[in-house]
């Protein structure tokens, strides 16, 4: 179990000159500058010390020193330390070693910066296009500062993504770009042999909105929380909170304790609503609409509660840099207590009614199996990881807001399947209720809810923050800028790592389980879609409607 000193000394001793500088921003944040040639070696060294890979951040630093920056971030879960490995490559030769061969989850991050910044990673196993549209011109890298935020190259016809090679004897089943299991358009090509899944390829980012670029160039610090909230329709507050806390960390702003408590309450209210929503969605996906109807009925009072506290049922708009916008009055406090009391009672009824239902067990137990080792290797997060016996929770491991004073359990299961994911989410909802009660109990009664800032935020400070969203951890990285706006703001939503694990979860499962497996990571989905089944050998195409898939799922024994 290394402390911050040991990590520092360990790195310096092992890699000597390759470590250029070490900055200890706080007891929980370590920034290490290294030479780019050693990036793969040092990353592996950090993983060997027991860290978990989070995300990589690339940024354009050309105007300052002619380089493109790259930051790999890691978390030491047991010690509560975040480590950012900073390096850079010259614009003229933006090549560095890929860390993906050893840390598969870095695959997307690196592909992202191939697209957006024009970096190159040697030995990347799959250097395909990830973010940019297939008809986006080569050589135009939108995250570079000389590219205007609203550049709109003309569209091209007949350009398509090349899927991975299909294994011998298998058929390709395209799921998407519009399909029943995902809320947003994305394309899974599932390779099946009969009913059994042998592999898959993914092409997504069809709704990439360029929010990071937009906010860096067009908005100001305190407008961004409102855009951040719209990154996700379900865990909006999470992104606003992560962003605000990252900026506060970078700028060294301390907010009042009361504001931190209110943030905690809002985050937990959001978790209750999100888990109930997911439970309903999962019920619907396996064709069990009673669960869907009932959990959404229970959820509705939470939405109304949000409306009474913040003024809107979902886009709370509560969190800004410096604190929160609305207070929790004694009346609201009573209101919250009575609503969560009722939810707890009703959810208990649901839990009792479904936990012994053999029909649900048949459809979820053993489905979406991923071994604990693979889960760690792929850095999966949130309920998906906790259902696969990986005991991580940012709220407990890297406490933020008021979580350091909260007592709660982190449910972890070792059956490694979708059923465990259901259980984790159910139990977490009860824990969330517990946390809200503690917050209301312990909350200091005085203190401003919004701290006024005396000075402008200093430029070029780095801030790294993770918040446990209902679906896993959200990680934001902020580099402060000069013009009252961040120079770089990197958002990693929890689905980003989890989606990379879907091919792993699909492997060896039945076609009928595709919806619930993809659904189990909670990316939301629309139910009006259809999947297309193409049998390559006969060349005949057949479409499976949502209903047929549901039938397949229902009839599965």
């Amino acid at each position: 179990m290394p402390g911050i000193e040991e990590i520092k000394n360990g790195l310096k001793k092992k890699f000597k000159d390759a470590v250029v500088a070490v900055e200890e921003q706080s007891p929980t944040r370590l920034f290490v500058d290294i030479k780019s040639a050693k990036v793969r070696e040092i990353s592996n060294g950090i993983i060997a010390m027991g860290a978990r890979y989070l995300v990589s951040v690339g940024y354009d630093n050309i105007s300052r020193d002619g380089t493109l920056g790259m930051i790999h971030t890691f978390g030491f879960d047991r010690d509560g330390i975040f480590l950012a490995l900073r390096t850079s490559v010259p614009e003229s030769k933006p090549v560095m070693d890929s860390i993906t061969p050893d840390i598969p989850n870095a695959g997307w991050s690196e592909r992202e910066y191939m697209d957006l910044l024009g970096m190159k990673f040697t030995a990347h196993p799959k250097p395909k296009r990830l973010i940019l549209a297939d008809d986006w011109p080569e050589g135009v890298h939108p995250l570079r500062k000389d590219i205007p935020w609203n550049l709109m190259p003309p569209a091209a016809e007949d350009v398509a993504y090349q899927l991975d090679e299909c294994p011998e004897g298998c058929s390709i089943i395209p799921v998407g770009p519009y399909h029943p299991t995902l809320h947003e358009p994305a394309h899974f090509a599932v390779f099946v042999d009969g009913e059994t899944i042998k592999g898959s390829d993914y092409r997504g980012f069809m709704t990439h909105r360029g929010i990071e670029k937009l906010c860096q160039t067009q908005l100001t610090y305190n407008e961004i929380p409102f855009v951040a909230e719209r990154i996700c329709g379900i865990c909006g507050s999470v992104h606003a909170a992560t962003y605000a806390q990252a900026v506060e960390l970078a700028a060294g702003i301390r907010i009042s304790r009361r504001a931190e408590y209110i943030r905690t309450i809002m985050l937990e209210i959001e978790r209750i609503h999100s888990h109930l929503l997911w439970l309903g969605v999962a019920g619907h996906l396996i064709g069990f609409d009673t669960v869907f109807m009932q959990s959404w009925r229970i959820r509705e009072p939470i939405m109304w509660l949000g409306e009474r506290i913040t003024g809107n049922r979902k886009t709370y708009g509560m969190i800004v840099i410096g604190g929160v916008r609305r207070d929790i009055t004694p009346e609201i406090k009573e209101d919250i207590l009575s609503v969560i009391g009722k939810v707890e009672e009703e959810l208990l009824t649901v839990k009792k009614a479904i936990q012994g239902d053999s029909a649900i067990h048949r459809r979820t137990k053993g489905v979406g199996y991923v071994s604990t080792e693979d889960t760690m290797l792929w850095s999966l997060v949130g309920p998906v990881a906790r259902a696969r016996n990986v005991d991580i929770d940012v709220r407990r491991d890297f406490p933020y807001a008021a979580y350091d004073e909260m007592k709660f359990d982190v449910p972890v299961f070792d059956s490694n399947d979708v059923w465990a994911t259901v259980l984790v989410r159910l139990l977490e909802t009860f824990e969330a209720i517990k946390i809200i009660r503690q917050c209301l109990d312990k909350m200091p009664n005085d203190g401003p809810i919004l701290t006024e800032l005396e000075a402008p935020i200093p430029p070029l400070r780095h801030g790294l923050m993770a918040v446990e969203a209902p679906r896993g951890e959200a990680v934001h990285y902020v580099i402060t800028g000069e013009e009252n706006a961040p120079d770089r703001w990197r958002v990693r939503a929890p689905t980003y790592p989890n989606l990379q694990g879907v091919p792993l979860m699909l492997l060896g499962n039945q076609l009928a389980d595709v919806p619930i497996i993809i659904g189990s990571i909670d990316p939301c989905f629309s139910c009006t879609d259809r999947m297309e089944i193409v049998d390559l050998r006969s060349g005949a195409a057949k479409t499976a409607s949502q209903r047929e898939l549901e039938e397949l799922s229902r009839n599965k024994r």
């Binding site: 000389d146 205007p148 009614a353």
Partner: protein, 181 residues
Amino acid sequence: MWLTSKIKQVFMVAKPGVVTLRYPFEPRPAPPNFRGQPYWDHHKCIGCGGCAAHCPARTILVRDLCQELRVMVYDGSRCTYCGRCADVCPEDAITMTSSYELATGSKEDINETMELFMATCQRCGRCYDHEITNAIDRMSRIGFKYDSLEMRAVVPVSSEQFDMKLYEKTEKIKRPEKAGE
């Protein structure tokens, strides 16, 4: 096991009964704190432009027709009802009302326009600075007030790095003709 679960499920469903609301046949008033359509009180507004500078959707236009006349237009079609404008207004001129049934056939119905007479400083002839103590809020990015509300578009003058030549270059870039080439 299976049967007891089903019995429990029947109870779970039967107990709450029908919960569907009869909206829109029965009105459903919003709670008091609701962030609905913002309303500007032109008696209170001093035309400081604070709301326009902090609107994340940039849906408030400020334009000075002359030294003494300032026009403010709120375009409801782009509003996100965040209530930030009401927060920063030093004069409490903006109320977030509880009206939310704003669907309309014409965008004009949800806009609001104010024409304000501006008092200027007797000495320097400029308007007074607005009183915001928050350092983040006091600064604002130059340029974005030139958004073209009339065209319902953000005019890209605010990006200093906007390079027309580069834009033209991308139009000439050769694209793959067929998939995979």
